[in-house]
Subunit: 664 residues, 2 copies
């Protein structure tokens, strides 16, 4: 090999590259191209700018880093290892993409301390980053004082062409521009290559101009492969612009250093192969064995440990001063960081009797939100332009807007997907904030990729989804969920709750707020529903419970959810009048029911008793609990809600007929 | 009322407005604001520019019109009625949003001839319009001759702020700019109001600049309320630009004419109320009863009938000439329009024996696509930047690109949602084209809103979804579908097929290509699977069939789908060796199985025989067919696929153990 004299900077950058190259090669799986091309910008960012403490990845005031182009995760694992995080050792890197390792195929916050959010599905990370920046701006506005900046960090992102093609990134970046999130700095790895080849074949728009249109501060570093000073200067300039988020387009070569594969799609998502690895070593003058990092490189990177300890110590000093000067705020701030709910946060959640007026559960939800919000300052969120339909406005707060970051009502616009992904970022800021977001239930489809990531990445986002059946009426089948509940219940680690009335809505919020490692989705009616005798907030936590019982062993159990529980009660009355022994079970949540003991479950749904489920949705999945259903097996229609409910068989007569048929 | 002298143009525009106002008022439900504000641009467009034949809504060469802001559907119904479509009578308008009417709450192509696509979920319509324009460009490139323009129409869209906020519109519009679709002309109803109020609260980006960044030709009509000449001039200019799509931002007042509600969110989605309707009548000088249209207005609008007949007659003449000069092409063109498949289109679909090499079903899919493509020129589509993973390239064609519209490989970039919505537009062009699109199965979530609309609007899009289980391996849980199959099977009118091997993949394409009113989703493996003894292309159409049988009544039926059928066969061998009578049922499609006769279903799955389903996915819904499952009830993990399959229990030992447990 030629003797090449490399600067320390070059050695450090090549160390990142070869950790990625060799880990992908050993795993025989992965994406070396991005780490090879983005190593320079990542090195400059992590070495010169980012404030973090490798020995305490959860140090609150750290700068957040999001690799939105998550397939390039070896870049992030290399940085975590090199800067001295305990979560990623050289052994972990050797175990890249293996069963049980801390270095999975895409960055996962729940597997690897130091990884803030879970990325890979393209476009999500940049939106999460907007959420992290929202959280920072909000907490800074709430807690910082003229003399003390307690909350003060940047959110950095590396995103690629793929992220920029996905519509969801446009949604969140438009909002970030609108909000003027000055501490959000995104480095766009402009390598002109996506999986199918040159971006010329499908992506020729002017990305910089688009971000300018969003209100971002935009810069371009023309040579992202070697111009480290240029990258640093751009980041400095981005930091200096405090009223706009910044996009820095950094033009790079994917797979930089690979003689035959650089600047090709071939290096995007496959190992270089032993021969090309060898040639790349020669080309970059890297005379080290796989997984060997020169001591000077490691020493240099690991100064991050000392720097980090110092940053944290300084901040702890700031916190100490803050505690002294602002003890009340400090106590509140530290409560948030502990993730501890305020005492009596739920004290004002209402309870109801059947004499109380029938209102929609979306209205009950509004009452709950406003009952808890004053006592639960970490509650923050809003709707995708359906505030007065979803009824999600917090009356105790103003709008979260540019310069009004202390407020808690977020106006997401018609951007469901961006909304949910932003909420994931707020939740995973891990500062105690409880984000909620809202749209019509049918539009859960629009935000589903982010909802799935809430569930996977353990982000306790609360989804307030109203207009939860065909009973919404005239808007018609495009707006009427039918298959939606089933499609949501199928998602692991998602809690779906469909409360029947006021008490159950209060119970739903009690559960949702406390589940901080699990998203909860509330399915709420547009139409009014009566408050039921025997309904219970506390029983919601059990998922299902006996609402109306008969004497002795029932002939039949009617299982209802949400708005159909009242129908079950009425049908049970008719059936009882006809001499049948009928129990009515209200089942607001399948998932919560599954958490109960076998004994409890059997006490509610004893074996051997026929069960009829009634839900204004597809029957899909109900065979788990019921022998038959009153359900909907087609798309809805446009007509007044009460007409539809009748036409689709949600009548006492039809339920009674189905029950009798089941009883034989 | 004051005597106001109105021009005929003003009368016509007010006629549109009051049909909307009065229909919404009568229904006590709907969205009057958009029709009131957008009536002038719609009038100019339909009266001066659009070529259509009210008496033949399906006339091929008509200009297509898409109301992307579908909530404003009364605008479209008013236009259909006024211009003389039989599908919307004044009685239909009086029945707006009622059960069984042709005037549902959002435009639905399957309910109302003259409505091209189904809109309402925001952002979809503009993407459908891109698809319509793609179809036109493709057919024009294929069939037009230097001397005869057989295919030659515009696609016009009205979209609003909501559509522009949705990320999906950005995806499709970026592609439209890239492709240079010069005959796509979008009028952006810039009324500054969305449901939550002024767009100032969430939408302050520079939309025009963003579209310029996409490569569109952009204009602004500052007074869209009264400047009819300005609107006309802008449409003329848009038509003159033939190498770029055009956006015309038309600034309007939502609810124009309503003294108290114009320019407020209050007029967006609720009736004006009787008093405000009265005041609006006074304000606009509209001295007519509800649903009464002055004769001069109707006469003027209905000139469209004569014009339309003339357009169609002229075009029929063109077609006649074309037939004479280019009989072969004419025959092919007319075959397409009839929606008739070529004879022997499927003649080259391969069949296999167990001796054939084990390959992935995605590879079988590639072989099928390329076996049928040369004989099926209407097949057009591609992947969202995963061409070489999804294996969807047609080797007989080049890339559909600007100036290369005759080609059939569409490069969608990383834009799953836009891709599916564009394919809906291609399908609903109703010119025989069969669009397909592709991504990883897990990213069905990204395109789900458009997929739902494929199913609802009867668009026969073929979804080629590969990497269909945890067996995809190292990419990890973000990329591994688990709940995905269940969530898709829950959608009405969607056909999901998960073939087990080569023969079943051929059978899946046979079904998918023929279903022109129903989308089909193919779930295909990344990993190799053996070709099974007894597998059958023809049996795919039955949804499920007995692949391996025992003598007499089975003790147990193993039901497998896709890659797990081979596992069932092996487990059955072990169980049989242990003296059990075991049948193996391959079940590529639940939906197709449900279409079969009760007798057939009982012959495959006889009552009283225990059944164990084996599928590398969530068990959700399987209780419909099986007593127990080998399935996955959590998210996946990052590791080699074979390791994951073993860790998650997809082994002969585990299936046998579960089977024995079930048999007791």
């Amino acid at each position: 090999m030629p003797a090449v004299t490399q600067s320390l900077d070059e050695l450090c950058i090549n160390a990142i590259r070869f950790l990625a190259i060799d880990a992908v090669q050993k795993a025989n799986s992965g994406h070396p191209g991005l780490p090879m091309g983005a190593a320079p910008m990542a090195y400059v960012l992590w070495n010169q700018f980012m404030r973090f403490n490798p020995k305490n990845p959860q140090w609150f005031n750290r700068d957040r880093f999001v690799l939105s182009a998550g397939h390039g995760c070896m870049l992030q694992y290399a940085l975590l290892y090199l800067t001295g995080y305990d979560s990623v050792t050289i052994e972990d890197i050797k175990q890249f993409r293996q069963w049980g390792s801390h270095t999975p195929g895409h960055p996962e916050n729940f597997e690897t301390p130091g990884v803030e959010v879970t990325t890979g599905p393209l476009g999500q990370g940049i939106c999460n980053a907007v959420g992290l920046a929202v959280a920072e701006a909000h907490l800074a506005a709430r807690f910082n004082k003229p003399d003390i900046k307690l909350v003060d960090h940047y959110t950095y992102v590396i995103l690629g062409d793929g992220c920029n093609m996905e519509g969801v990134s446009g949604e969140a970046c438009s909002l970030a521009g609108h909000w003027g999130l000055g501490k959000l700095i995104a480095l766009y790895d402009d390598n002109h290559i996506s999986i199918d080849g040159s971006t010329d074949i499908a992506f020729t728009e002017d990305v910089c101009k688009r971000f300018e249109a969003y209100g971002w501060h935009v810069q371009h570093v023309a040579d992202g492969n070697t111009d480290l000073a240029g990258i640093a200067k751009a980041i400095e300039a981005a930091k200096a612009v405090t009223d706009k988020p910044s996009l820095i387009k950094v033009t790079t070569t994917i797979g930089y250093g690979s003689p035959n594969k650089a600047n090709t799609a071939g290096v995007h998502g496959a190992p270089l192969g032993p021969e090309e690895v060898k040639l790349t070593r020669e080309n970059l003058g890297w005379n080290y064995e796989p997984f060997v990092v020169p001591e000077e490189v490691l020493n240099h990177f690991r100064k991050a440990i000392e720097r980090g300890a110092s940053y944290e110590a300084q901040w702890n000093q700031t916190l100490a001063t803050y505690r002294q000067k602002y003890p009340e705020e400090a106590a509140e701030f530290e409560r948030l960081l502990r993730g501890e709910l305020p005492a009596n946060w739920d004290a004002n959640l209402p309870s109801y009797t059947p004499e109380d007026k029938a209102v929609a559960t979306r209205k009950h939800s509004e009452i709950c939100l406003n009952a808890i919000a004053p006592n639960l300052p970490e509650l923050i969120g809003g709707s995708a332009d359906l505030t007065h339909s979803n009824l999600t406005e917090l009356k105790c707060s103003g709008d979260f807007q540019k310069g009004q970051y202390q407020n808690r009502n977020i106006r997401f616009g018609v951007r469901e997907h961006g909304m949910a992904a932003i909420c994931n970022g707020i939740a995973l800021h891990n500062s105690g904030l409880i984000p909620y977001c809202a749209t019509f239930l049918v539009f859960a489809d629009y935000l589903r990729p982010a909802l799935r990531l809430s569930a996977l990445s353990q982000a306790g986002v609360i989804y307030v989804m109203t207009h939860d059946s065909i009973a919404l009426g005239e808007d018609g089948p495009t707006h009427q969920p039918v298959e939606t509940l089933a499609s949501l219940r199928a998602i692991p680690n998602l809690l779906v709750i469909r409360p029947a009335d006021g008490n159950e809505t209060s119970g739903a919020y009690q559960v949702a707020v406390q589940r901080r490692k699990q998203p909860t989705l509330l399915a709420l009616t547009r139409q009014n529903v009566p408050n039921l005798a025997g309904s219970s907030a506390a029983n919601v936590a059990k998922g299902a419970y006996t609402l109306v019982d008969c004497e002795g062993t029932p002939d039949l159990i009617l299982i209802g959810t949400g708005s159909e529980v009242a129908l079950c009660v009425k049908a049970a009355e008719t059936l009882t009048a006809n001499g049948k022994k009928v129990r009515v079970v209200s089942m607001p949540s399948w998932e919560l029911f599954e958490e109960q003991s076998p004994e409890y479950k059997a006490s509610v749904l004893p074996a051997g008793v026929k069960r009829l489920a009634v839900e204004a949705a597809a029957s899909f999945g109900w065979c788990r609990y019921a022998d038959a259903t009153v359900a909907i097996e087609r798309f809805g229609a446009s007509a007044p809600g009460n007409v539809l409910m009748e036409k689709f068989g949600f009548t006492v007569d039809n339920v009674v007929a189905k029950a009798n048929a089941l009883l034989g």
